[in-house]
Structures are given as structure tokens and as C-alpha cells.
Symmetry: D4
Subunit: 217 residues, 8 copies
């Protein structure tokens, strides 16, 4: 696994990351890391690699866009002096264009998304051991659905930034593909966005496979 | 994996199984299967084997002893017509002897425990494809601690019944051993009984390893 | 308009009809008729035709299928001695097949749906002046989506029963078509099922156009 | 209809406008525009003219008088840069004179009312496409009732200002006249001020008829 | 005063009598007699005539009509073996005809009202020292208002029954007349039915003047 | 009565005055003047002298001593520009010496009490038509009880200040005397301090008798 | 101490005994024995005599009189098969005569008190090792206060029954005497009945001194 | 006893001291001193030595370490001008190292603990009559348990500081020893840290024995 003993991983994002995490920092006893993929990752780290004493901090905030991340990047990421940072952002950047089309000041269009995410990555790389970028996703199997198409475009931007900056990259939308072939979206997420634990486990597994986690060690 | 498409698994037990599951049956949308090892098992089933459409029903009830299970076995297990049944019981049978020693009618001593668990297994085997028996556990690393010693004795009874009846068997106490070597009990469970998600994930993994689950398929 | 002075209309269905109506009968002061299409219909009746003194009773119950309607038909419809009955049912009959596929006892397949709805209509026609049948709907614009396809099939059954029994018929799915051409589903209903007031108004308008309501009288 | 694609309409007033709208701005998902005439107008806009993508913002605040509006006019109207503004104010200006006669500092007498409303209109006209002024109303059919007489005087002031400034004008009291001929006030509003949805629909319809809304397009 | 030491007075009626009284019997410590005219009467009894040790029991229930009183007369009046009974009923009998005109089964028309009230009085007189009948009222100063006219008719029925059966009689509507000449209804009761403490004190004073209470003893 | 049309009376004190009054000013609709003697006085004013339109403002705050009154006198009395002021203070000044004897900084001894109350009266007299001073009281019939004796001393200080400054004076302790002869303290106030409505009515009556109120006008 | 290893003591009474104990039986973890003298006794038993493993069950119920005890004696005492029973009852028997004098059916006069308590003692003695009778009390230092005098009479009845039946006897009123000489009642109990923990500790100490508890062992 | 009439004792610490005490100062009526050993000490002071009028102030705050105490020492101890100060701190200093090992900034290691506690004692001694130092404790009977070993080391530091500064010293861990020989930890404290009232009474008794309290005076 890419992580070493005592290293610190900050996982930041929107409601998919947040999931009722503790404030101000999502770490510590009980449900401090929330009830989503972050807590699944944390639980698998400590139950399978107890000797590593990894420190996972959930810094997701519901409703966040990449514009929100930028505003709180200094205090919520850099000041925590992480060894590793994972970012999953973009769902709300797209969603607001579809669920409240008239409120245009809430939309984050693709150029701002690309520029901001790239800026955050560049600003952070010098002080960390690595960054893990994850695509936003939409649990809509129809690839021609307008919002799904937008989400895929934002996902491609993530990939592009990952490649340009040489970071880890995980295509979460792709990770959901085999699941969506057998399970209808309504059984994963009533709004096709906020998954139940089945969906969160799929995200956690994709993350863990990228970082070299070994379930059978 | 031992489970086939569309099969139904009933998981029964005490608060370690329950963990805020839905009533009357712990299945369905959202957190219906609770927030413990059952929901982790269910989430890993559906995210990794989505094509199997397995049906997991959490029937745990906090505070239950094997005596409680017997009272509700007909309605809560047999009437559900499961293909598979998992049982993790005994913690309260032992704990009450230690946390409320003066209330003796709340204690379930080892002879009653053995006889009752054996009766439930024998009564159930003819109508199911298999039973998975799990030991109770206590997150106390000191093997000479009186309550830990009692718990180990109850665990040996489970093993004995499993062997006699030819069921699956999982030693949960043993599964915690490598974790307890690196993590102090207070970081897993303040009362050494109710684990956080790290502990539940350790249980889920032990269960999944027994049933032939393949994380990397 | 087809309704005359002092006539009584019972509107029955599932959560789309219910929307927090009063119990046991959804009529009377304040929000007694709920906050959905029934209350919009009622409000337009009394504000535009105040002299008719029409009596609208909302008898919807969230989560109902046609099987649920049958169980309460005597007390919740016939005993109220309505002049008119409107029925919108079927969404949960279909939805359960998609959002909890493993819990098969919660599914109502199309044969049971057809037989039961037909039975209720036939049982009621002799004692009322008319029945208004409305199709179930799904705010999914992709006609090839599996759940949308199922819903369309159930809608065709409603039409078939309406024609056979010579009742009023409203194709609610069709009524949403022009709206869905301009508004993405997420802006109407996060789960594509429970519409906001925009969607309820579209239902109310389709209903009122069928019954000869004149907005400009 | 007088509104064009993508235009923004701010509707401001007192509790009749507010009706549990979202803060700070009454727009967005769910019940953001409240549960009164504003939400009915918004729902009819989007269900009947979905292609226009009109943006309706409810800025009503319960208990407001015209004096309150003046205090928040810059932030709550002008700063939002609306294309259209609707104003319904005056009920509390009058009511306080009748329901708490001893607390004279809470009364807004007719000269202050006229001057303030006129000032707000003049201040706003240069930057918008149009203003819609609505009279306050009182659901008291007896034209000789003292409070009704006062309300009628305030209503005449609204008409006078509308004519002088060449704005749209809607006589809401008059719109209720045909309803009050058939429905006793207690069935519309227990306090003769806060209508149920029947009353709100009457207001919405009067508004929509003034702005050229076509129910049957 | 007509009451003697240790006598028991049961005061029954609707919400005007109830006003949050204690269940099942409105007597005892704190706010047991409610917060309306009954508690004012009780407080004036004990503060001005402390030596009499009168026992006042509030048996009002919100929403009651004379039909409701009949259903509970045996348990709620006769079984308490009162020395005196006061009755104020009829507001809901009339109001329902005006605030929910379509729900006719909730209306109590004047013939049923007269017959039932008379029956209750006749049934009770033999076992008590006296009955005090109070008219229902409506805080509407316009004597031509339809609901006020109805209420006056019901009030005349009370007077007729009082005279026929030779009971005490208090015209509460008349007692409000001098107050309504100076105070607008909205300052007494927003819905013209449920008075604030000013109105309740007016009722209490009318009651006390009828029973010979001396404020200045 | 000493009050004239439209005059304003501020009633200030501790919890006996407060009794859940509205903040910041205890006046207006519903229970704004609280549920104690102030609301009884207000209700009797308006029900018996409706033409006077008196304005009663309850400014009591639970737990206050005369030291607390001094801190808020400017904003809570003088700034309101009353015509009349009533003061009932001193119970907590004494009570704290008995119910928390060790916390001496919470005690207000008699010299500070006298000096402060006298200062407030002198500061206020020039701008008002009159002041009504009421003694604190303790519903303890045993005149030799230590706290009762203290309370009586504080009461004598009130009388002394009233005489020196020529204000109205009401001996509330004396007003309770005839009631206490027949009713045991526990039936008036479980803690012998906070009376039920019987006790509040006794206070209200003593106040009204001092100001020339005529119950039988 | 009179208690031996593993013996069971049931402590029954009214609110002084109850103090938020657990239902149905006041024993077990946390605050199961309540927050009053019973929990203090229990805590001192186990902290000072941990080897005795005494079982204390709190069966007090707020508001109980001796009449209430009789109704539940079989289920709440005898069925529990105690070795020892303590009884403190009578406060409400007396108090109701003083705090709600008009509700005579709530009073338990001294003859009924004596007969019932004697009956309960006689009925219980054969099956237990001993009974501890405690007097009711009233934290009123004035021995001439009417309610205090009544309470003392009831206390003498307890003593008389204890002597006649040869049970343990504790004069709780006397135990409070030295405390009341230095602490005013308001600092022990605002209503002179429900003591704070200081008062409960005084009761516990009186109980423990009677049963031979040794603080310094 | 070492305390004299009217002296003030401030007891400071963590959650074992706090136990729901009142804010900002834990003294006064009802449960102001909390529900733990402080309230037991206070109750025994006043019930056994009522003439001393001792003033006990609970200043514990849950979660505090010695680092937290230092931050609030001026306002929470010195500004209160106590005659005596008791300190029980260190449990969280140790526990955080075991229950959240990855969050190192929450740990207080033994050097910082020693230096800080010594500093607080030295800073306080000049202005008080005496300081009572109590060791932290852990209800773990196994002396080889890692956290118990750490706690014992911190306890030895307390003893060392007490001796060096000549203060009172109480070994709370030792006081629990005889109890732990008979009662399993789970019956005293589910988490082996927060005792039930049995444990708090053991602490109170150890404290009282050190200060010369005489139970039998």
C-alpha cells in the first residue's frame, strides 16, 4: 500500500464525502469520519492494517462545489499538514445547473471548474506525498442523459488534471458501471446522487484498489 | 462464494448485530440493515457481487441472550424461510453476570447457553442450506480477565456445537487478535463490547472470508 | 364542469395523493387536503366555482399499491358514499420492483395490478356518478429506462380498464411530457417520483381540463 | 404574457406573501417560495410555460408594514436586480390600529403609507421593466366594518399610486368579492386575514389574469 | 352568593371553557382549571371567599357541540355528583355550518340543539341545586352578519330553555356588547371566537354578577 | 379610578410580575402581559373600562432584585415614558439569604435595598403622574418564621419610602392575610413564593382597590 | 450490619423514594435506583461493603399514599420475594389535605392510614427477615404549623405500628431536626417536601445508622 | 475536620468532577454541584455539619486535561478566591493516548503533565489554606494493562508533587482497590472511567477520610 506508518490522509469533497462527519475535523471516536466511503476506508485501514496507525481526516462539506473548496483550502487542507490528500468534487457544480436552472449564480461551469481544481492541485503538490483525484459521478446508467453527459465531461477534466500533474486518479463513474448493470439506480440512491452504503462501499473499494490495499494480507 | 443468486440470509444476534436496524425486519432502503457488521456485509455483497441479488435480513435485537433468541425464533427466523442463518449470541449471557451481578435472573449460565443454542441449530438445520455460527467476543486483550475467560468458554461452546452439527464456524474473538495487538481496546470500543466501524469491519471480513467472498473478483 | 352543486369527490392514491393530508379523512380546515395536487384541485374549485360548494376528500396514503387500496376500499371509499371517485395508483407497485428488488413480497406485478384495479372500478361504478382514472407516472424522460418502461405498461393497463368500463381517463405521464422537454427531472423531483408544486400543478391542471373546469369563467 | 424568457420577478410583502418561504431568499428547491400565492404563481408559471424559465423570488416577511419594506428595500429588492417587482403591502399597517390600538408606534397611518409606497415605486421604476401593485385586503364582507373601511381606503391609495406611476394594478379585495358572496369568511381565513389555499389561489389567479397568463395554451 | 361552603360546581362546555384544563378532571394544583373564564372564576372565588372552600371542576372539551356533551354527560357531569352545573355550548354547533359548510355531518342544527340541551337540563335538575345556562357568543359586532345572526338564534334557544326549566341564565353575547363598542374584535379574538384574557374576564364577571359574587366584601 | 384615557402604566418586578410575559416588552396580543397579576389587572381594565384604552406594559424579570432593577431602570422604565409605574420588588433580595446562604454575593441586604429603591423612586417621580409601591410578600402564616420576619422588614422599608416620597402604597402581605386564614400555603404556592392564579388574583384585587377600580360600574 | 451476603432489600414509598428510578424495577445499571436516598444507600452499601453483594430495589412511585401501596403490594413487594422491606409513606396522605383541600377523595385520613399500614406490615412479616419503617416528614421547623402537626401525628402512628409489630423504626423527622436548626427549609427543599441531595443524604444516614452500617470499617 | 465555618472549597477536574454541574459556577440550588463525588461531598458536609455553612463550588469540565486547567486557572480558580482547592486531573491526559492514538496533538505526555500541575500548585498555594491533590484513576484491575500502567505513572507524579509542595494527597486508585476485588469493572463503569454512584461514593469517602470528616459525630 502506498501509505506508511503514521501518515495523515485528508479526504475532502461534498456531501458524498461529508455524510454527517464530525465538526470541525472529521476524525476521532465513534462516527467522526461520517457514515460514507471515508468511514469505510478508515475502518478497512485499521482493521486490516492495524499496525500502520494511519490518520484519516474527513473534511467534506455537503453542498460544496470546487469554488467552495477554494475558499476553505488553506484552513481545511494546507493547515492540517497532510501527507496525502484525496479530492472528490464536482457533483454540485453540475447538479445546480439541472436542479435549479434559474439560479445561475449557483452554477460552476466547466472552465471555472478546471481552472480552480488545477490551481488547488498545483498549490498542494509541493507539500504532500501525493494527491488522489476522484471523478464526480451520477448514478444514471443512460449515457445520453444530459446531466450524466455533463458529469462525464467534468470527470474527463479531472482525468486531464491528474495526468497533467501526475497524481493518482480514480474514475468513480467507471467503478459504478458493473454495479449499475445489475442494480437499478433507485436501489442505490433515490436521487441518483447520494448512495446508500452499497454505493459508498463501491467508492471505497475503488479507492483502496488504487492505493494498493490488500484485503487478504 | 457459498451463496447463490436470490438466496436469503437471516443474521440474528444482540446489539452487535442490531445497531439501529429497521423494525420489524432489518432490510430495505437506507440504513435498514443497521450500521454494523451486517450492513457492511450487505454493502460488500451488493457492490462486489451485484448480479447475485442476495437478500440480507438483520434480525438482531439489543440486549438479547440466547434465551431471548429462543423466545422469538419461530417468528424471527423460521417464519422468514431463510436459505442461510448466521448467529452471533452470548455476549449478554456473560456480561450480565459481570455488570449486574446481583440480578441473577438476568444471567444465562453456560449449561443453559449450550442447550439452547444447540436446540436452535438442530431445529433449523433441516429447512436451510447452512448455518454460520460466530463466537461472542470481548475486546479485552488480557486473557486472564474474568469476563474474558468466561467469554472464551462460551466461545468454545459455540465451536463445539458447530462441529457437532457440522455448521460453518467463525471465531470472532480470534479474528480480533491481530487488531488488539496494535490497537488499545479503548480505540475500538469504550466499553470493550460495542465496537466502532473498525471493529465491525473486522467482524464483516472474518465472516466474508469464511463464506468465500472474493474482494478482487 | 361535470360536477354539480354539493357533490362529493373522493380522491384516492399513494404518496402523490397523500402529501401530509389530515387523518382519518383529508378534508376540512387548513391543510386538510394535503399539499399536493388534491389541495390544488380543491383550491381551484372553491376559488373559481365558489357557488358549487364541492366536497373534496383526500384519501391517499403514502406507500400504497393497488393491493393496499383493495384492503381499505370499503371503509375509505364506499362508506364515504361519494358521487365521484378519482384513482391514481401504481407507482409503488412498480417502484418496489426497482428500489428493493430482493423483497419480492412487496412487488405488485402487472396481472395482479390489472385484476385488482378492474375489480375496484367495477365494484364502485354502480353507486357513483363517475370515476376518473389517472395513470401512474415516472419523471424520467428516457423512454427506454427500465422503470419508465414498466410504468408506461402499467399506464396502458389503466387506459384499458378506463375504456372497458367507460370511465374518465387522464394520461398523467403524457401531461408531463411538455414540461419534461424544458425542465430536467431533478428540478421537478429529486427522486423522479415525488414532484414539487410545479409537478403537482401539472397534475391538477390535467385533471381539471378533463373535468371541464374553466379558469376564465 | 408580459414576462419573457429568463426574466426575474421579485414578489415582496407581508405574511400573505411570506407563508414559510426560505431565508434569505425565497427561491430554489422544495417549498422555497413558501406555501401561498407566490408558490402557486411559480408553480403555474413552470408547469404551463416551462420554456420560459422564469425566476420567481419570494421576499415577503410576516408582520411587515410599508415602513418595514422601506428599511430593507435596497438589500431585498434593488440588490437582487429584478426585471419585475410585485408589491402587496398594507394589511399590517391597518391591522395594528385595530388589534393593538394602545401600541400606537406600531401603527402606520395613511399619509405615511402613501408617501412611503410612492417613494419605493419611484425609486424602483427606472431599473425594472415593470411593477405590479396589489391592494391589501380584508376578508370581511361587511363594507361598513371599521377595519374593512380602513383597508378599502389603503387600497384606494394603492390604485392612486399605480395610476400616477403608470404601473400594473390589481384590486385583490375586488377579486375576493365573488368568492365572499358564496363562502363565509371563516371558511377562508379564521382571522379574516390569512387565507387558506383557496384564498391564495384566488390571489394567484387575479395576479395571473393581470399579467396575461393563458391557462389553456 | 348562591354557593355555600364546600359545594361543588361543574362547568362544562367547548374550547372557551376548556382552555388547556387538566385531564381527566379540570381541578387541582396549578393550571388545572385551565386559563380561561373558569380559572378566573375559581381564582376570584378562593381569593375573595376563601372560607367557602368551593370546588370548581372544569369539564370543557375543545370542539364540543351539544351533541358531544350528550355523549359524555353521564361520566363527565352526573357521575361527579355536582351541586351546581354551568353550561356554555353552541359555538361549534353554529361555527361548523360556516367554516366547513361542505361537511354537513359536523353541523348541529337548531332543532337538535334545542332538544338536546333541554334533555340534558331536565335530566340533571333533579339531582342538583341549580343550573347556570350561558349563551354561546360571537365577537362580531355586526348584527346582520350571517353567523352572528345564527348565534343569536341559538342564544335565544338557551334563554327559552332557561325560562322553561327555571334555571339561571346569562346572556354572554349581551355582556360583550359594551366591550365591543370600544374595542375592535381583532383586539379581543383574532378569530372572533377564542377571546384573550380580556374577553374571558368579561365572561367571568357576567357569571359572577349572576351568582351574587361581591368583589368588595 | 386614578387612570385616564390612553395613559400608560409600566409594572416592573421579579418573577411574580414576569410570569412568562413577552420579550422585550410585555404587551400586545395573546399572553404578552404574562399569566399573573399583571395580566389579571390588564384584563379587568379592558373588560370593565373598555373606553379608557389603558396601556399596560409588564417589565418584570424572574430572579430580579432591586439591584437588578437599578441596572435596567433607564431602558426598561424611563425610556418607555410611562404615565404611571408600579414596583413590586424584594422577594429575591430576601430569599437568596435563605435558600443559598453560602453565596453571599447574591444577597441584597436591607440598607442597599432601602437606598436603591428610594433612589429609583426619586429619579422617576418628576416624569410620571404617580408611582404605586407594593410590598414583597411571603406566603408563610407564621409571623415568627425567620424569612417571613425578614420579608416584613423589607415591606416596612417599602412603606417608609412610599410615605417619604408620597407615592401610592399597597401592603400585599396584608392583603394575603385573610386568605391565609382559610387556605394553607401549599394550596396557594408550593414554595410559598410563586402563587397560583388564586394568589395572583388577590394581588390584582389589592392593586385595583388602591387605584379606585369599580367592579360594578 | 443487619444485612448478609446476597440479601435483597426492597425500598418502597412515594416521590421521596422514587426520584426518577427505573421502571418497572428500580435496580441495575446507571441511575436505576434513582437519585435520592435509595441510590445513596445503595452506593454506600457497595462502596463500603463490596463483598456483600446486596441487592437494593427501589419501588417508590411519586404521589403514592398508603392506599396506593396497598393496591400494588402483591406485585411490587411480595412477588419480588425480598429478604428485607423498608417503607416510607404518608407524606401525600397528609399533603393532599393541605394543598388540595376541596378534593376530599384524594385525602387519606389517619384511621385509614393506620389500618392500612398495619395490614401491610402484618401481611409481609412472615415472609421476610425484617421490615424497616420510616416516618414521613415535613421540612417545616415550626412545630405548630398545621401540616407539620398532622405529619407528626402520622409519624407517631408509624412508631406505634413498629413497636406493635416489632420492626425496625426510624424517625426521619427527628433526623432532620439538627439540620433544620442551621439550614432554612428553602435551602433544603423549595416546597419543604422534596429535599435536595443534602436532605436525601440525611435520610440515608439515618437509615444506615439504624441498620448498623459502619462508615469506617 | 480541616474546614472551618464559612470557608470556600473549589473542586476542579474533568468529567469525573463535572457530571452535569451548573454553568458557569457549580453551586447553588438543586443539582448545581452535579451528580458525582462533588455533590456527594457537598451533601455530606451540609447534612452532617450543617452549622459550618461550607461553600463547595464544582468547577470540573468534561474532557479537560491539565493543559485545559492551565488555560482557565485564573478565571476558574484564582478569581473565585477559595480557601481550599481540590484537583483531580490526568485521566484524559492519558486516555487520549489510548483511545485516539493517531491524534497526537490531543495527548498530554508525562513531562508536560508534571510541569503544568506543579506550576498550578505553586501558583495557588500562597493564597489558599490548603490544596488537596487526588490521583487520576482507571477502573482496570489488571496492573499490567498498558493504560493502567500509564495511569499509575501519572498518579505517582501527583504524589511526588504533593510531597514536594506539602499538600494533602489522596490516592484514588488505591481507594478503589478493595472495591475492585469484589466488583467487576463493568458493574462500576462501562468504560472503566466514568463510575456510577457507587464509584463516586468511593471517591467521596476517600476525600472525606483525608479531610477528617466524622460520619458519626
Amino acid at each position: 500500500m502506498i501509505f506508511n506508518k503514521n501518515e495523515k490522509l485528508v479526504m475532502i469533497g461534498d456531501s458524498i464525502t461529508d455524510v454527517e462527519r464530525k465538526r470541525p475535523h472529521g476524525e476521532g471516536r465513534n462516527d467522526s469520519t461520517g457514515k460514507g466511503y471515508v468511514s469505510a476506508v478508515n475502518a478497512l485501514f485499521h482493521s486490516v492494517y492495524p499496525e500502520l496507525s494511519l490518520r484519516v481526516i474527513n473534511m467534506g462539506i455537503s453542498g460544496n462545489t470546487v469554488r467552495s473548496l477554494k475558499e476553505r483550502w488553506q484552513t481545511d487542507v494546507l493547515d492540517l499538514e497532510p501527507d496525502w490528500v484525496s479530492i472528490m468534487i464536482g457533483i454540485n457544480d453540475v447538479w445546480r445547473q439541472y436542479d435549479q436552472p434559474t439560479i445561475k449564480e449557483s452554477h460552476v461551469y466547466i472552465d471555472e471548474y478546471r481552472a480552480t481544481l488545477d490551481e488547488l492541485v498545483k498549490q498542494t503538490l509541493p507539500s504532500v506525498k501525493g494527491i488522489i483525484l476522484m471523478t464526480p459521478f451520477y448514478l444514471e446508467p443512460n449515457a445520453n442523459d444530459p446531466m450524466r453527459k455533463s458529469m462525464d465531461e467534468y470527470g474527463r477534466v479531472v482525468k486531464e488534471i491528474a495526468e497533467k500533474n501526475n497524481t493518482h486518479f480514480i474514475d468513480i463513474q467507471a467503478a459504478f458501471q458493473p454495479v449499475l448493470e445489475h442494480i437499478y439506480p433507485a436501489a442505490l440512491a433515490w436521487d441518483r446522487v447520494h448512495p446508500n452504503l452499497v454505493g459508498h462501499m463501491a467508492i471505497a473499494r475503488a479507492f483502496l484498489q488504487e492505493v494498493g490495499f490488500d484485503w487478504n494480507r
